[in-house]
Symmetry: C2
């Protein structure tokens, strides 16, 4: 019982910061994206390729969440984007408060998009609203086609699903039709893009969606 009470209290505190973040993004006309996935589904590579394609047209900044290391922020900075690294020192998700405390590090008057790359974890981050405008879940075809059945919350609460690493699909038994059917049953409004961040196949549609979303 005590565990449940504390979790409720933590979530309530998180909601307050999330609401403040949401208000801030609206006021500044910033599209904030909360990216959630398992470890190694390709979030950082997707961001690298998105940065490369759009950075001359759109002002993008990135907040990187990791348990340890600054590796991902370094990868993003190498593309020319600004990036702030949050190291959670073992904690399994980002909180809205951590986002609030990171925002002042950017020139937010001149940003169109802030992407938050959450901790690689398909379970815990889905419980924590960060005040984002849209939530994007990434699923690599290498993870298997049963993941939306087994981890439904992350898929049910997302606005966009990026099915990544489609360049590997020919070597795997990944039934993309079944995945589409399963996730649309959970979440009928989910927008789905099949992409390979490695080869950039299919990413044009995702870029178009992003450009339209910031208007």
């Amino acid at each position: 019982m005590m565990k449940i009470k504390v979790k409720k209290k933590i979530l309530a505190k998180n909601e307050d910061f999330a609401a403040a973040n949401q208000k801030f993004f609206k006021k500044k006309n910033i599209l904030c994206i909360n990216m959630i996935s398992s470890p190694g589904s390709g979030k950082t590579t997707i961001l690298e390729k998105t940065a490369k394609a759009l950075k001359n047209k759109i002002n993008i900044a990135v907040i990187e969440g990791d348990l340890y290391t600054k590796l991902d922020a370094e990868r993003i900075r190498a593309t020319g984007l600004e990036a702030v690294q949050i190291e959670t020192k073992g904690a399994c998700h980002l909180t809205a408060e951590q986002i609030t405390n990171s925002l002042h590090k950017f020139d937010t008057d001149n940003l169109d998009i802030i992407v938050i790359e959450n901790i690689g974890n398909l379970v815990c981050p889905s419980d924590f609203d960060l005040g984002e405008t849209v939530r994007v879940v990434v699923l690599s075809v290498a993870e298997g086609d049963d993941k939306c059945k087994k981890y439904p919350n992350s898929f049910a609460q997302a606005d966009v699903l990026l099915i990544n690493k489609t360049d590997l699909a020919r070597y795997l038994d990944f039934n993309v039709k079944m995945v589409r059917k399963d996730v649309l049953k959970l979440n009928k409004d989910l927008k789905i893009f099949e992409i390979s961040a490695k080869t950039t196949a299919g990413m044009e549609k995702w870029f178009k969606w992003l450009k339209k979303a910031i208007r």
Copy 2:
């Protein structure tokens, strides 16, 4: 502060059950394996192939942990092994108490190995000792070669690392030498096997290790 106190209390309670489980496994001469990995790294397929190779020589049973669904227990039962499914209804790890409560469902006088397939999550399960004899972490080459740097706890606390999906390695930039160096820096006694559960390449050494471990 309250969060930290509650976490300490939860972990202390978990330790009591873990100690009882450990004592039970020792008394019954059962090798208990706690398998930890990201979603989709191939834990269930590894177990299917291990069951197929060893079930006539060794008595194995499986405890399956999932947020939702009984899919994995059904896959294990199809190989002829006994399996118990624990559905955590969204919780991100198994607890030692859940294991204690599952053990009576098996004929433990006639078992050599109990494998616990933990929730697909490379963060939270590593905090919870289940009383296991050995901890096995699985890393798929499709997840990338930076995972032991970014999620060190799971690797530092394991006895065995199974690097899985090596059949895909030729299509990926996965530096296995670097991974071996990185994980041995974290954990010098870690036993590492490179396998493909799909093709069974490399699994013979893992089977040998298992057979030796139960003696």
